[in-house]
Subunit: 516 residues, 2 copies
């Protein structure tokens, strides 16, 4: 694979300057055009230590408008990052639509270093790579342009870059060793070593000795992560003029030719209501249960005590709770959540409420606004409405084309599986009431002055879509209730019973996941 | 996940008949329309044993035109299949464009059974699922419509289906047990047991006892393989009327709405030749080497003897050779291959030559014509031209849009990795000559009557594209030369030297992979 990248490609200084004179204004123009588009550009740098990734990034920043680019080094992982699921560190750095992000480190790196150090077997490495591809796929499906540049440097050149020595005899004596490159490598090695890959060498000579193994791992990496939607561009990097001009040229071409995958119009061909209405899972919920007034208070107090203890236990065990609350309008979500939070030390949780996304959020993949809010290990995140809006309101109100919300089931399942794999405890509640009960509560809200702010025209409009929502809830449960992250369907016609049931189910869910 | 699939959905006989009356002609029409389209429909049946997959397939065949559907059971694996890479059994059954194929067994099944039997860990299962997704992705990228139907049956119903007993009291007493379902399961169990999953039960009661474990595995299977381009449709299957009508309805809708992914026009924006031509990997080949006439014959004889032994050794070790020969027009591929085959017992190899694809081949994914020719373990397949046409002639002649041939690198790497993983030995040769040497040979062919059939206008046209081909060859080597399946670049200006070099490199490649 790499033999074709050691053919002596190079540019003279004059050739380089001529290309640069063309590339700079064109890149600036492409950046300017991008600012008006609804997709981001993500540049992923790959290649060996010492290949000049840092130098290329430096030049791109110099040639383009740095205010529209963010560069992320990603070689030191903060403890903030270590105490969240692996991909959180990448989500938090994704560029918004219209902007460019450069990833100097990436989602292949950890597995690659581990494989080089012999700490990850072939299947484990392949799995990590296939997960990385799935991540890129999700971004591309959302419209992103992902430009992956792989810089290949020969063994001799790597040794020179990794040492502080001035260049000796070389076929391209113009090329000075790039001190920054080695600096980054050394720091990267130190950063990785602190955290994951304790066996990586700190000495450039040792890096150099590992070159053959690095070739093997890199070849597999490229093979497994080269995809039609996000291909690797392989660049011969021994000559810095050729390397920089080629990288910039490839980026320019990719930016000019990009046709975002999400470009299709919202489909208007909505499914007609089925001819023969079928029972849904909501019909199976027993809404008749009532809790007598005198039972309620003592049971609530007891459950709240249990909850309080469990939150502290989770904190000690460094487990995070991710709890999702969804339900019909006026089902009593808010008041149920208040009975929960009343019991918990405010340092241990964050409650977040979702309405329409902000401009900043709209400029990102729809899951981004949830990733950014994840609390670190040992703290809970309570979501009052959540990512399920994608397959509920966005589906029913046709805010999102069918293919896009349909795809969200797998995106959501993948997201929650990452949470669970990291050690989070994921609990999801759907608060159900009957259509009649909702009508009663709506009228009550309209009648009482202090409740009028709680009822809007939108609520009435949503109510007209009751059957469509019921179908969407059923599909949601069918597609996203997993044993690791199950949906709890709670009967809400009696508010007291609903509050107790939510607390009780949450306690049980907690207890089944925490230590004895 | 499955709780939403046990809600008691059902149709009365009248409702069912009314739906059937609409569905039958509509499905026939959709089939008829499909016949004129350039993509296939692939129906993948998923779900537990006893869920009625066989019955659904039976009805689809009954309602549609069975001449345009092929159904594949895939529960008994032939020894033909066992001695080729795993996915060969699926490739050979893919429907051609314009036709429908139904897979009663599928590419999830083996891993699912193994996971249920506790013989595959979580990571291994996830890897198998992600490979399955990559396979479907490749078909979808090629335009295919993949319709995945998952039939869910409750535990009680499964027990009934898996036994021979007549239905007892049941919420849908209309539904008779389907003897065929159990028959298939039993045979499938036997087939699997013979080969891979010796611990699967043969008794229906034991199957039933495994229901909870099957639920767990199925949930993970669906989560990992549900994708935007090939989503699972989950169907409640306890009621056979509802099940059959829903499956047929989903299929009809999918067929009507399909927009093939390969629908884009061939892009005309070809890359201009680079301003500053750079050396390619072909320039590094030393074309000056000559072999003296008196050395040639004894060396050839010796190498042929060695090759003969190695082919027999490979046969004994049940290893297959997959050898690819590519090169410039008039580079001497044919005569080099003859020196190889002259040495080998004809029972041990198959030589296949490729020109433009046949109609039958054009109706399939471009890799299909190569998959179908793979010889079984212990036999060699020699490809005179190969799948690399995709990234050579199809690229240079603009027969294939850039995004499509670009994607082929990863498809080819994946294909060859599957060969290697199965135990094949993959060797690839590019026979290189200089542009001057080619001119000399072309003129020689024109001058000699018995060689005139070997030179056509097309050869001259190809020659005009020399630089574009050189670039394509370089990209091909950069993207597809892997340590497990390397490219050997052979100097061809001296025919004798080239023949010896090919045999010698093949011997070395063989020896490095066979037992001592």
């Amino acid at each position: 694979m790499f033999e074709a990248l050691e053919t002596g490609k190079h540019l003279t200084e004059e050739q380089f300057k001529a290309q640069r004179a063309e590339l700079r204004p064109a890149l600036l123009q492409a950046q300017f055009d991008l600012a008006g588009r609804d997709y981001p550009v993500l540049i992923v740098m790959g290649g060996f230590d010492g290949a000049g990734k840092g130098a290329v990034v430096h030049h791109l920043n110099e040639w383009m408008d740095p205010r529209l680019i963010e560069t992320h080094a990603l070689w030191m992982h903060s403890d903030e990052e270590e105490s969240r699921p692996y991909f959180w560190r990448f989500w938090r750095r994704l560029p918004p639509r219209g902007r460019t992000g450069i990833m100097l480190g990436n989602w292949y790196q950890r597995a690659a270093y581990r494989a080089m150090a012999g700490r990850l077997d072939e299947d484990g490495f392949e799995l990590a790579m296939r997960r990385a591809v799935a991540f890129e796929r999700m971004l591309v499906d959302d419209g992103a342009l992902v430009v992956k540049l792989w810089l290949h440097v020969s063994r001799d050149m790597q040794r020179r870059q990794l040492s502080y020595e001035a260049p000796r005899q070389h076929q391209n004596p113009r090329v000075p060793a790039d001190p920054e490159a080695w600096w980054i490598s050394r720091e990267a090695a130190r950063g990785e070593a602190q955290q994951n890959v304790a066996s990586l060498p700190a000495d450039p000579e040792e890096w150099w000795a590992r070159y053959p193994r690095a070739l093997e791992v890199s070849e597999r990496l490229i093979r497994l992560t080269d995809s039609g939607e996000a291909p690797w561009h392989l660049i011969e990097a021994d000559d810095s003029y050729y390397r920089d001009a080629t990288a910039a040229g490839l980026l320019l071409k990719a930016m000019r030719n990009h046709k975002p995958a999400n470009g299709g119009p919202a489909s208007g061909d909505r499914d007609p209501p089925p001819d023969d209405p079928q029972p849904t899972i909501l019909d199976a919920i027993d809404l008749s249960r009532r809790v007598p007034r005198d039972e309620y208070k003592p049971r609530l107090a007891k459950l709240q005590g249990r909850i309080q203890d469990l939150f502290w236990q989770a904190h000690r065990e460094r487990r995070s709770l991710v709890a999702v609350f969804e339900g019909w309008d006026a089902a009593g979500k808010g008041s149920a959540i208040r009975r929960l939070t009343a019991a918990v030390d405010p340092r241990l949780y964050k409650l977040v409420q979702f309405a329409a996304p902000t401009d900043e959020e709209r400029a990102q993949h729809y899951l981004w606004r949830f990733w950014r809010l994840l609390q670190r290990d040992g703290r809970a995140t309570l979501f009052d409405r959540s990512w399920y809006g994608r397959v509920l309101v966005e589906r029913v109100e046709e805010l999102t084309p069918p293919a896009t919300w349909r795809r969200a089931y797998s995106e959501i399942n993948d997201f929650e599986a990452q949470l669970v794999e990291h050690g989070c405890i994921v609990a999801k509640f759907w608060l159900h009431i009957s259509k009649d009960e909702q009508l009663k509560r709506f009228k009550d809200r309209e009648a009482k002055a202090h409740k009028q702010h709680k009822i809007t025209d939108e609520d009435w409009r949503n109510r007209e879509q009751w059957d469509a929502y019921a179908l969407a809830v059923e599909d949601m449960v069918a597609n996203t209730s997993t044993s690791a992250a199950p949906w709890h369907l709670v009967a809400g016609n009696d508010k007291k019973a609903a509050r107790l049931e939510i607390l009780e189910r949450l306690c049980e869910h907690f207890e089944s996941h925490l230590g004895a």
